[in-house]
């Protein structure tokens, strides 16, 4: 199904966020809320991609850092840093996760005509993580493939794999 979507992109209502110096678009309909940075509890031995937990109105929600998956710089949080709480499909199950954003821009409609398939070459990111690339105001907006990014094996084999149970090893 996602395959079909990749070939026939539909126009999407998207929330645009900035990660490092790139603009990303996530499906606005799946966004629950946008929070200021809250205290993050570090999960020892967890992959960097999902290294923290946050409290969202009494729920414990994993905090994902997409910048890890795209191998980007990870600037320190500043006054623009936000957490986008949204629904993502993990192995087909809808799960609530927080996404760290360096800045949240706006909600916009990206026309189908302006969405292109990610080029297979000449890109510094893993192509399977990108659903398409939209154009707006002469700039590019990356539409990440959240399902692929949050696929369990992908999440677990994140770049940094801390070995668990150090004394036992």
């Amino acid at each position: 199904m996602s395959q079909a979507q990749e070939h026939q992109p539909e126009s999407m209502t998207a929330l645009t966020i900035r990660l490092d110096d790139e603009l990303f678009a996530v499906e606005a309909g799946r966004v629950r809320e946008i929070l200021d940075l809250v205290p993050v509890t570090e999960v020892p031995n967890a992959p960097d991609f999902v290294g923290g937990l946050i409290n969202v109105r009494g729920r414990v929600v994993p905090l994902a850092d997409l910048r890890v998956m795209f191998g980007m710089n990870r600037p320190e949080p500043d006054e623009d840093t936000r957490i986008v709480v949204m629904e993502v499909d993990m192995d087909g199950e809808p799960t609530i996760a927080g996404i760290l954003a360096d800045k949240v821009h706006d909600v916009t409609v990206i026309e189908a005509a302006s969405i292109e398939e990610a080029p297979k070459v000449g890109m510094r990111w893993r192509p399977e993580f990108i659903k398409g690339i939209g154009k707006r105001n002469g700039g590019f907006i990356i539409i990440p493939n959240m399902e692929r990014i949050f696929e369990t094996p992908g999440a677990r084999t994140a770049p940094v794999t801390a070995s668990e149970e150090r004394p036992a090893s």
Binding site: T41, E42, V43, V50, G58, M90, A97, F150, T152
Partner: protein, 689 residues
């Protein structure tokens, strides 16, 4: 949807009643003369019949009616409950279940079951064969064709209890039921209807006079009013005098019938003025039971499970908010605030316990289902089995119990099918012919362990090995201990059954069991002794959504340890650092306890406290010391499951939200103990080498 669909409500209720019926029948098999059991089975039938008719399940109502009529012979002591009767009654129960679940489907076989039932009952009491066979006919149809017995006209006058309509009694249905006893003529008695302004529309003022032509309608009338008899006015008189030749026979019949009633009780109180001493219908014992059923109905409530989950979430949030309040109050010097914070703490912990209690269900509800399973398997496989259950009162979270049903069915089937040997083999091995399957549940620390034990042949390690090699799970060179071999049965697609039976042997059993148990964050273990049998033990967390926890600090992170697992806290002796590389054991009153430095486990880089503490935790047999920087104190911990993103990290069993709103991880003590233990093993073997 749960609320608005009455047929679904009926189905649910019927399912429970059928379960109750089945349990009653199985108990009856053990104790055939127990009147209470017979009555409770009878009541279950009667309720199913009544509500079945009410909700349009006519096929159900008709079948149950026949079943009930036949079973009534047993209730009256005219027939006896024996194994054959129980067998056919169980078939009948299954048939009812089928009728209820698939009302649109044409389910056959009902007539055959009834015929069986009647013949079994007739066999039990040959002298009553005629009446047993006849009663259904006369009851089922209003066919007035005379039966060659004495019929006379009986006058029944009754006034319903004033609250009858409120409880849903439909007088029309009662009259229709009466009409099934024999040809009736009905007159309404309006003498008690008050003036319009005094009239309460919810009170049935009208009484009825019903003239019935029947042989002796006493028992049938009792059945009609089974649930109303306590508070209603009812009188029954015989109008015509039968011919002299039969006059002597009829009273004789009533006198013989009377002693067979289980417990004749005095006639209903406040009988109508016309009540005559001639026929005080003996009050069956049922009303007493109906009473208790009514009471149970009033004191128990059916609530959709989602609402309980919602309640639990709310209470969880309340507990968190309360913890924050307590924290703020602790810093304040305002005594009024402190008082109210303490009050709230007490209240919320009470509320927490109550809410938890609602969700906890004794595991006995699950165990009783398996009795039927074993009963059927025993018959099917021709293996006599004694099924012993213990620890039914052990309580587990409801959702947990539901998810345990399938795995336990698998384990019990395996025990019966693979575990127990055939009767001949048992005899050859010098074992009693009757195999024993034991199902037990017991609390162990913060866990519940449930085990299925059989006294059969035990696991055949040679066959497991052969099968595993055949399936490519291991190579012939692989050296495995017996314990490791036993664990191979949990591998996917593994089955040693030589041939596929309907019960087991498709190789989809044990790995599914293991997966389910893993999903519940439990473990499964197998112990087997050749010739003595095997035991499968499931260890499950109570998954109380809220537990008492001990909050500790490691580096900058705070973690919660389930208090139930904590044995004691000690200081990490100074100078032990010097040997840190060599031996990580503490001497706790002479016993060597391994310890794990959580700072190392978690890769903490923050500055360590000069005086580190050790929290000794236990799980099952093992103990381990967890070295932490600081012990902060106890707190109520609302367990939140970690998402799939973090489920791979075994050190943590969940997370919780602390008083200040931050998240703290809950340590998985069982896993840490195992890690510590394996460390010990390696250390000892390492030193020995």
């Amino acid at each position: 949807m749960n609320i608005s669909d009455p047929t679904e409500t009926f189905r649910q209720e019927a399912r429970e009643l059928l379960e109750q019926l089945e349990a009653g029948l199985l108990d009856l098999e053990q104790d055939p003369s127990n009147g209470d059991l017979i009555n409770s089975a009878f009541r279950a039938l009667h309720t199913i019949k009544g509500s079945g008719a009410m909700f349009g399940f006519t096929a159900v109502a008709e079948f149950v009616h026949e079943f009930e009529t036949a079973f009534d012979q047993v209730r009256k002591g005219q027939s006896h409950a024996n194994a054959a009767l129980i067998e056919v009654a169980l078939d009948a129960k299954d048939h009812i279940h089928l009728l209820i679940e698939t009302p649109e489907a044409q389910v056959d076989g009902g007539e055959a079951i009834l015929a069986n039932l009647r013949s079994v009952i007739a066999g039990g009491a040959p002298s009553k064969a005629v009446s047993a066979a006849k009663t259904p006919e006369t009851a089922a149809s209003t066919d007035p064709s005379p039966v060659p017995v004495v019929k006379s006209t009986w006058r029944l006058e009754f006034y319903l209890p004033s609250d009858a309509l409120i409880y849903g009694t439909n007088p029309i249905l009662l009259l229709e039921e009466l009409a099934q006893i024999g040809p009736t003529s009905v007159t309404a008695l309006t003498d008690r209807v008050p003036e319009l302004k005094a009239l309460d529309p919810e009170v049935p003022y009208i009484g009825w006079r019903v003239d019935i032509e029947a042989e002796d309608p006493t028992a049938a009338i009792d059945d009609v009013f089974l649930f109303l008899r306590d508070n209603m006015e009812l009188s029954l008189t015989r109008l015509d005098t039968p011919p002299a030749s039969q006059a002597s026979a009829a009273p004789a019949q009533t006198t013989t019938a009377a002693p067979t009633e289980p417990e004749p009780v005095p006639a209903p109180k406040a009988a109508a003025p016309s009540a005559s001493a001639s026929s005080p219908s003996p009050k069956p014992k049922a009303p007493a039971g109906a009473d208790s059923a009514d009471r149970a109905g009033a004191s128990s409530l059916r609530v959709p499970a989602e609402r309980l989950d919602e309640l639990m979430d709310r209470v969880g949030e309340l507990v968190i908010a309360q913890a924050r309040l307590s924290q703020i109050a602790g810093l304040s010097s305002d005594t009024a605030l402190k008082t109210i914070a303490e009050e709230l703490e007490r209240l919320s912990s009470g509320l927490r316990d109550t809410t938890m209690g609602i969700r906890m269900v004794p595991i006995g509800t699950l165990f009783s289902r398996f009795r039927r399973l074993v009963h059927d398997l025993s018959g099917e496989l021709g293996k006599p089995i004694e099924f012993i259950t213990t620890g039914e009162e052990t309580e587990l979270d409801k959702t947990m119990i539901e998810r345990l049903a399938d795995p336990l069915v698998h384990l019990i089937r395996n025990a019966v099918d693979h575990g127990l040997e055939s009767a001949e083999k048992r005899a050859a091995a010098g074992k009693p012919a009757k195999g024993v399957v034991r199902l037990s549940a017991v609390y162990s620390g913060a866990e519940v362990s449930i085990s299925v034990t059989d006294d059969g042949a035990g696991l055949d390690t040679a066959r497991i090995r052969a099968k595993a090699e055949e399936n490519g799970l291991i190579t012939p060179e692989t050296k495995l201990t017996d314990q490791e071999l036993h664990h191979l049965i949990f591998a996917p697609g593994f089955s040693t059954a030589k041939e596929v039976t309907s019960l087991s042997g498709r190789g989809v059993g044990m790995d599914v069991v293991k997966r389910t148990i893993d999903g519940l964050r439990g473990t499964i273990d197998v112990i087997s002794r050749p010739g003595e049998g095997s035991t499968m033990t499931l260890r499950l967390p109570l998954t109380l959504a809220i537990i008492d926890g001990m909050l500790v600090r490691v580096g900058n992170g705070r973690y919660t340890i389930p208090l139930a697992a904590v044995e004691e806290c000690v200081e990490l002796p100074e100078g032990i650092e010097a040997h840190a590389k060599g031996r990580n054991f503490l001497d706790i009153r002479g016993a060597l306890v391994p310890y794990l430095r959580l700072r190392e486990v978690f890769g903490t880089t923050a500055e360590p406290e000069p005086h580190q503490k050790v929290v000794i935790v236990s799980s099952g047999e093992g103990r381990v010391g967890l070295v932490v920087d600081q012990i902060i104190g106890n707190n109520q911990t609302v367990i939140k499951q970690l998402s799939k993103l973090h489920s791979g990290i075994k050190s943590f069993s969940g997370a919780t939200i602390l008083g200040d709103g931050t998240v703290a991880l809950i340590l998985d003590t069982a896993h840490l103990v195992a890690a510590g233990q394996s460390y010990v093993d390696r250390n000892i073997t390492g030193r020995a080498a």
